[in-house]
């Protein structure tokens, strides 16, 4: 069956909260910069950001800006807006982030027919304003 055009979920109604470990990620996103949490000691990347590096247990963190590109690791196709139950085609996607392996983001892929989404395809970050003046990184097909 054909699903048609997939869009990121509407930003209205999408909420996030932060804590001291995750706040730098979201502050960078406000400036349309995609960063990831990197261990300041051994360089291992981890997402979501957490207090300790699972490799060396250091609490030092760095937040390097990433290229903003990635690869579709897996995805689903959903057809109803969870906020109101109305028909709405969206693609929840797990993205392997370039420059931050093994860190991933779980977000939406838009700007493409849902039927055309493939594991392994290259994607690039886009920005979706959400509630509380935060900005959510979403993805679209790489040019």
């Amino acid at each position: 069956m054909a699903y048609g055009a997939a869009r990121a979920l509407p930003g209205e109604g999408i909420k996030i909260t932060t804590n001291p470990d995750t706040e730098p990620f979201w502050q960078a996103a406000k400036e349309h910069k995609l960063v990831a949490c990197q261990c300041g000691n051994c360089g291992h990347f981890r997402m979501p950001p957490s207090p300790y590096c699972p490799v060396c247990q250091s609490t030092d963190k760095k937040w390097p800006e990433l290229p903003g590109t990635g690869t579709v690791f897996s995805f689903a196709i959903c057809t109803h807006n969870p906020k109101n139950g109305e028909p709405y085609v969206y693609v929840p996607v797990v993205v392997d982030l370039d420059g931050a392996s093994p860190a991933r983001l779980v977000t939406n892929l838009g700007g493409i027919d849902a039927d055309d989404v493939k594991i392994g395809m290259k994607v690039t970050v886009d920005w979706n304003p959400i509630e509380g003046d935060w900005v959510l990184p979403v993805f679209k097909p790489a040019a």
């Binding site: 069956m1 699903y3 979920l9 999408i14 909420k15 996030i16 909260t17 932060t18 804590n19 470990d21 995750t22 979201w26 997402m47 979501p48 699972p54 690791f73 897996s74 995805f75 689903a76 196709i77 959903c78 057809t79 807006n81 969870p82 906020k83 969206y90 929840p92 996607v93 797990v94 093994p102 860190a103 991933r104 983001l105 779980v106 977000t107 939406n108 849902a114 594991i119 959400i130 959510l136």
Partner: protein, 402 residues
């Protein structure tokens, strides 16, 4: 190395309420249903409820993550005079097969003599189980998941199923076969919610809730309660039934699986798996057995695709071979004499009979090794029961005929 407590404890009583479609158990309450299940389990075992002195829960003693159980309340309502053991496995339904193992810990430590494991589940309209996309703002951790619109466990696991299809060529036909093969086991079960045979047309006509999974790949949502009683094998000699010996039991898992579909960070091949590799390895090490020794497998089936992945991780087929194994008719009760086959979810499972967060699987495993199951596997000596795939811990148990 053989497990030090092998066959030293046994499940000796099982009890359950009727099963209700979600919300239909009202005006009964959580504690009303829990009490009925516990009293029936005591009657089945042949003990008085006043002899219960231990509680071994899972799912953080949560009634479907909604209400909470409380040992003190159950003592008060049922008239249980003394309790020497009250403990729970963390996380969710993944602990169901490990909870009787927790009871073994209490029994072998001589903290208690008769331990009950109970789940009572009721979803009233204002509380829906497993909803990720609530009106409230998510936690800081869940803020990296909830905005994706993966609204519930089935949506989350659809992403794992997709990866499995990509890596191994798994097809939706295999998911259909899992639902149909286990549906075929409920026609003769009075309490089952879904009893009618499932046709291909009906399956393919279902709405896709989270492609690649359709509505019937998602388990039932039901209300009800189930309890089981565990004691020492020595005490079990004086009770009503032949005991279901706890031959092996394990819970836990490895960091590569971790929070699983709540973080999606699992590397291949763990991502497209059931997260049971560690528990399976421990069970086989504890017992010296392997998949080919099992006579029946009651595999936690909240979502059809996760049954296929458990078949692979427990070694009923090779990794990536689940599609062909299932489509070869190998999990059908009717094909149980076929070499290499394993009858799966002889009670119909969470997909067809009822979803009491896995407790029905424990009951079916007990009845199979007692020899009293409705769909009895002839000469059943070993039954595998599992809990999860979910955030760790997941769990597994091997029951043995006495």
């Amino acid at each position: 190395m053989t497990w030090v407590n092998q066959d030293k404890c046994a499940i000796v009583g099982v009890g359950a309420t009727d099963y209700y479609v979600r919300g239909k158990s009202w005006p009964r309450t959580i504690n009303d249903m829990a009490g009925e299940a516990i009293l029936k389990a005591c009657a089945d075992a042949g003990i008085s409820v006043k002899q219960i002195d231990g509680f071994a829960y899972y799912s953080t003693a949560g009634a479907g993550y909604l209400d909470k159980f409380d040992t003190a309340s159950l003592m008060e309502t049922l008239g249980i005079p003394e309790v020497g053991f009250s403990a729970t496995l963390t996380s969710g339904g993944g602990g169901v097969a490990g909870a009787p193992g927790l009871a073994v810990a209490g029994l072998m430590n001589e903290d208690c003599k008769y331990a009950v494991t109970v789940m009572s589940l009721q979803q009233l309209p204002q509380h829906r189980l497993g909803v990720v996309f609530g009106a409230a703002a998510p936690s800081a951790e869940n803020s990296f998941l909830q905005p994706s619109g993966l609204v519930g466990p089935g949506h989350l696991m659809s992403v794992l199923a997709r990866r499995h299809m990509h890596l191994y060529g798994t097809t939706r036909d295999a998911f259909k076969e899992i639902v149909q093969a286990t549906r075929a086991n409920t026609h003769n079960r009075p309490k089952a919610i879904r009893k009618e045979p499932l046709t291909d047309e009906q399956y393919w006509g279902q709405p896709m809730l989270a492609d690649p999974l359709c509505r019937l790949d998602f388990c039932l949502e039901t209300d009800g309660a189930v309890a089981v009683i565990t004691t020492t094998t020595e005490r079990a000699k004086d009770l009503r039934h032949k005991p279901a010996l706890i031959h092996g039991v394990a819970h836990g898992g490895q960091a590569e699986w971790g929070r699983a579909f709540a973080w999606m960070g699992m590397p291949d091949p763990y991502f497209a798996s059931s997260g049971h590799a560690y528990v399976a390895k421990r069970l086989w090490e504890q017992t010296g057995l392997s998949a080919k020794d099992m006579d029946v497998a009651e595999l936690y089936d909240h979502f059809s695709a996760m049954v296929l992945m458990q078949l692979e991780e427990y070694g009923f087929c090779e990794k990536g071979g689940g599609n062909d194994y299932v489509l070869g008719g190998n999990i059908r009760f009717a094909n149980r004499d076929k070499p290499g086959a394993i009858p799966v979810n002889t009670h119909g499972g969470n997909l067809n009979e009822a979803y009491i967060i896995g407790m029905t699987h424990v009951v079916e495993g007990v009845e199979q090794v007692r020899g009293t199951a409705i769909n009895q596997v002839e000469d059943c000596e070993f039954a595998l029961v599992t809990g999860g795939p979910a955030s760790l811990p997941v769990s597994g148990m091997i029951l043995r005929r006495a």
